[in-house]
């Protein structure tokens, strides 16, 4: 190295060193910025989770009251009666009332009696009827059974009612409070696991409402959605990627598919309403129509994901197959599809998760109706989980607030497990080539 | 730069090829110089100069060794093909032939010492005349072959090959004249064998010159013409002349 070069080198090195501190500082700042963004995201997510959990965890418990019911043959049916028609026609509400009167004999005032009866859920009468229908031999006997308390009592026990408010602003009045305290002292009030929440359909009474109807509805809807969108989506992707000539028409189709993925979901609801319900005359509020609409919505997602998966299969594999004389069809079915399948499945599951959480298009096709029954098939009217959440969130009763959060938790559990399934599938079937 | 060795993407390759070509040319210059000096010592009866000629042969040998080393390195490093390969082979063979030219020149210088440094009667000028005339002829051939090599001149290469046949005739004639001398003057018998050796050395130098001509044709055309007769050679290179 001659002298001039040496000088040049030293000059440039000193400049490099001068700028070095700044470069490292920039790098550190950049890292911090990214870390900050991640922390912010985590903060929001945890905030969401904590608030939902804090609101919702109490919904998994329900207050029950022990009643010593006398199965009065005069009210129900004569002893020995087994005809279900006769048995079910009994005035079971009267039984509950009689039991309550027995429990608090001091209450005589008509208005006070009504308040007293209000402590017990209207579901208690159905529960007693069930008991009798199951075993008619109990008629004429006395038995202790646990029945659900009214939602206001439930709220009180869970501490959601502020007792410092004036009596007129409270759902639970002072005398009700004293009765409840009396029952508590007798050991007649207990919090138990809320099986109703997982076993019942919707109800006007919070203590009797559950998510099973919505969950089953969601299941049927997703089943229809999957059965339609997966084969159609994969077939469309395979055709576009492997078979179709590249020309203006396929370009146009591609652009439109990409656009469809960005169309607001409510538009699909309108489409479903117009086509499936108004034109084809399918019934409203049924999972079949819901599934069809959601299939339309998830198709672009599945097609795009599947095309990406097909594209990511190395061309060398195609060449290898064609090189030994496989036909294009054999090349696709024997080699390309198996390799692309994990990616396709992942895309499909993501699409399904999206469909599971979708509300807007289903509102348009009437799945927002109040449906108590648990659907038995794709043609029964039903609700779906997100719509159920939407309905409960809209209800005035304090007890629906916790149920809303609990339903959101259930939905989140489904979504997260579907995503985990996607990750697992990808890990399991992903091959190195 | 030289069309034959230039133009490689790897510039160092050009330089390496140039180096061995220059070694060959240098060796050619030295060999020719040795030949001329050796013949001159004979003419001038200068035994001291003859000793110098013999000593200088070491220099030629050194170049021969050096060129071989360069060539081995070049082949190992570059894996030459086509004209590069022919070039390298031609240089290698040319150098081998030129080194022999040096050896033959040394033999002639040895004769000078033998004739004029042992106290015996030196041979008469008459009897040595054929050596001078043949040396003249061989000198021309060698110059021509070196020119053919350095210029890649097919004309000159062909000329050298043609001249080799003439040289052989000359050699036979000289031998015949020598026998006549011996018959006329039996005293010269003692020198006759040495003179035959000198003639033979010159004839060999001519042969080496002819070989170099053949190599040049191989280098340019890619055809090995060493063992073909003149007409066929001429025909083969005709379309290139």
């Amino acid at each position: 190295m001659n002298k001039q070069q040496q000088q040049q080198h030293e000059r440039s090195m000193s400049r490099v060193e001068k700028g070095l501190a700044r470069r490292y500082r920039q790098e550190r700042n950049f890292k911090r910025l990214g870390l900050g963004a991640i922390l912010m995201g985590l903060l929001f997510v945890s905030f969401l989770f904590i608030s939902i959990f804090a609101n919702g965890y109490t919904a998994f418990q329900q207050t029950f009251v022990k009643l010593d019911v006398f199965y009065d043959p005069e009210v129900i049916a004569p002893v020995g009666e087994t005809d279900p028609d006769v048995l079910s026609a009994g005035h079971y509400g009267g039984l509950v009332k009689a039991t309550m009167r027995e429990l608090f004999p001091s209450v005589t005032n008509r208005r006070d009696k009504k308040k007293l009866y209000g402590l017990i859920s209207t579901g208690a009468a159905f529960q007693i009827r069930e008991r009798v229908m199951q075993d008619p031999s109990v008629i004429g006997q006395r038995e202790s059974i646990w029945v659900p308390a009214d939602d206001d009592v439930d709220m009180l026990i869970k501490g959601h009612i502020d007792l410092s408010l004036p009596e007129s602003d409270r759902r639970i009045k002072d005398d009700q409070l004293s009765w409840i305290q009396g029952m508590q002292e007798d050991g007649r009030v207990e919090k138990r696991f809320n099986t109703t929440f997982f076993a019942a359909g919707d109800s006007r009474e919070p203590e009797l409402s559950g998510i099973k109807g919505a969950a089953v509805g969601s299941f049927f809807t997703l089943l229809i959605c999957l059965a339609i969108s997966f084969p159609v989506g994969v077939a469309a992707a395979v055709y576009l990627e492997e078979v179709a000539p590249k020309n203006r028409w396929t370009d146009l189709i591609e652009v439109n598919i990409n656009n469809l993925a960005a169309v607001p979901s409510i538009v699909f609801g309108l489409l479903g309403l117009a086509v499936f319900i108004n034109f084809f005359g399918l019934p409203r509020s049924v999972p079949l129509v819901g599934g069809l609409v959601l299939a339309l919505m998830t198709l672009p997602t599945i097609i795009i994901a599947s095309r990406v998966a097909l594209k990511s299969v190395p061309p060398s594999i195609r060449e290898a197959a064609l090189g030994v004389g496989a036909s294009p069809m054999q090349t696709i079915t024997h080699h390309v599809l198996p390799l692309a399948l994990p990616g396709m499945l992942t895309g499909t599951i993501i699409g399904m998760a999206q469909a599971l959480g979708e509300t807007a298009p289903l509102l348009m096709i009437g799945m927002v109706a109040f449906i108590v029954d648990i659907p038995g098939g794709a043609m029964d009217p039903s609700a779906v989980l997100p719509v159920q959440i939407y309905l409960w969130a809209d209800s005035p009763e304090r007890a629906f607030v916790e149920r809303t959060s609990a339903a959101i938790m259930v939905l989140l559990v489904f979504l997260i497990s579907m995503n985990l399934l996607a990750v697992w599938l990808r890990k399991k079937f992903e091959r190195r080539w | 730069m030289n069309e034959m060795i230039s133009g490689h993407t790897v510039k160092a390759y050009n330089q390496e090829l140039k180096t061995i070509n220059q070694l060959a040319i240098k060796l050619g210059e030295l060999g020719l110089d040795q030949l001329r000096r050796a013949v001159k010592t004979l003419k001038e009866e200068d035994t001291k100069a003859a000793g110098q000629v013999i000593d200088r042969d070491q220099k030629l040998n050194a170049i021969d060794v050096q060129a071989d080393e360069e060539i081995i390195r070049l082949i190992a490093k570059r894996q030459p093909v086509a004209k590069d390969l022919r070039d390298i082979l031609t240089v290698q063979k040319t150098i081998a032939d030129l080194e022999r030219v040096g050896d033959e020149a040394r033999k002639i210088a040895n004769l000078t010492i033998h004739f004029f440094d042992n106290g015996k009667t030196p041979p008469g000028n008459e009897i040595l005349r054929d050596i001078y005339s043949m040396a003249e002829f061989v000198d021309q051939m060698l110059v021509q072959s070196l020119e053919a090599f350095s210029e890649l001149n097919l004309h000159k290469a062909l000329e050298v090959i043609k001249r080799d046949e003439t040289l052989y005739e000359e050699f036979r004639d000289a031998l015949r004249r020598l026998s006549t001398f011996i018959m006329e003057d039996s005293r010269s018998v003692g020198h006759a064998v040495d003179i035959v050796l000198a003639l033979r050395a010159l004839e060999r130098i001519g042969g080496h010159a002819k070989n170099i001509g053949g190599f040049v044709i191989f280098l340019v055309t890619g055809k090995d013409v060493r063992h073909e007769d003149l007409n066929m050679i001429a025909a083969e290179i005709a379309d290139r002349l």
Partner: protein, 294 residues
């Protein structure tokens, strides 16, 4: 010293030899209308290509190529990148069909049958003209399935035992049997690069082709693996006709009997490999193989 043979002669050589070399490099004769130097014809051709032109859309990639491919010979195709050698190779088993915009004109005959004739199906053609690619591309399946795939789809095997036999002989021919016989159920992608490439050769052999096309088969391999493939190519010559595209000129010199030099989509020179690598006749060939290109 003499004035002729002095220092200046070195310079004279540098100045004057230009003309001499040019004389030397002049094209001897143009034996074909397409302008190719050397003999495109052979006595016993497996494939004959006449007037082959290839277009990618509006762009012409191959111009008027005439070439015979002899039986039981290795022909290597060399040339700078983008010279069309791979494109031409891919015409020989219609691999170019997979590219939409690619159009091939002219005549390529195999045993007298035009392979671009509408009546000839591409599937049997690819079975009789196998191909080995630049990057080893075994299927992500077991070694056994890699070899067995071709015979299975063509229905070449009578039963399972027969397929076992095909797999074994193919692997033996490819010189891979001893290395993998104990792990035929292992994935083919788990082999080393050189083994993978031999697996691909075995896969091509398994459908008993007549011609094997190789598109730079050693470009992704180390010298030892390359040497094994080259040895294999030499052995395979006995039973197959092989056309190989290679960037390594020395490889062409080592494995092939005939060499074709492509330049800008044209076949410049074709001839015996010995002749091409010692005394090429066309200036472009000479420049390319001696490293004077560009």
């Amino acid at each position: 010293m003499d004035e002729v043979i002095n220092r200046s002669s070195t310079i004279a050589r540098e100045l004057k030899t230009g003309s001499g070399a040019e004389v030397g490099m002049q094209v001897l004769k143009e034996s074909q209308s397409s302008g190719t130097v050397g003999d495109i014809y052979v006595d016993d051709p497996r494939m004959t290509c006449r007037n082959v032109n290839v277009y990618y859309g509006d762009k012409q990639a191959i111009f008027d190529i005439d070439l015979d491919i002899a039986k039981h010979q290795v022909i290597s195709m060399i040339g700078p990148s983008g010279c069309g050698k791979s494109t031409f190779l891919r015409c020989l088993n219609r691999m170019n069909d997979t590219i939409d915009i690619c159009k091939v004109t002219g005549q390529i005959k195999m045993e007298g049958q035009d392979i671009y004739d509408g009546g000839l199906d591409v599937v049997p053609l690819r079975a009789s003209v196998g191909m080995v690619f630049q990057k080893p591309n075994p299927f992500p399946k077991s070694i056994y399935d890699n070899i067995g795939y071709g015979p299975r789809i063509h229905g070449l095997n009578d039963n399972k035992d027969h397929l076992d036999e095909i797999v074994e002989t193919s692997l033996k021919k490819a010189g891979l049997w001893e290395e993998v016989k104990d792990r035929l159920d292992h994935p083919g992608t788990g082999l080393s690069g050189g083994q993978q490439q031999r697996l691909c050769i075995a896969r091509a052999i398994a459908v008993s082709p007549e011609v094997i096309l190789m598109d730079e088969p050693c470009s992704a391999l180390d010298p030892i693996a390359t040497a094994k493939i080259e040895e294999l190519i030499d052995e395979l010559r006995e039973n197959y006709t092989i056309a190989i595209v290679t960037h390594a000129m020395q490889q062409a010199a080592r494995v092939s009997q005939r060499t074709a030099y492509f330049h800008l989509g044209k076949l410049i020179e074709v001839g015996e490999t010995d002749q091409i690598f010692t005394a090429p006749r066309h200036r472009l060939t000479e420049d390319y193989i001696t490293g004077r290109f560009g």
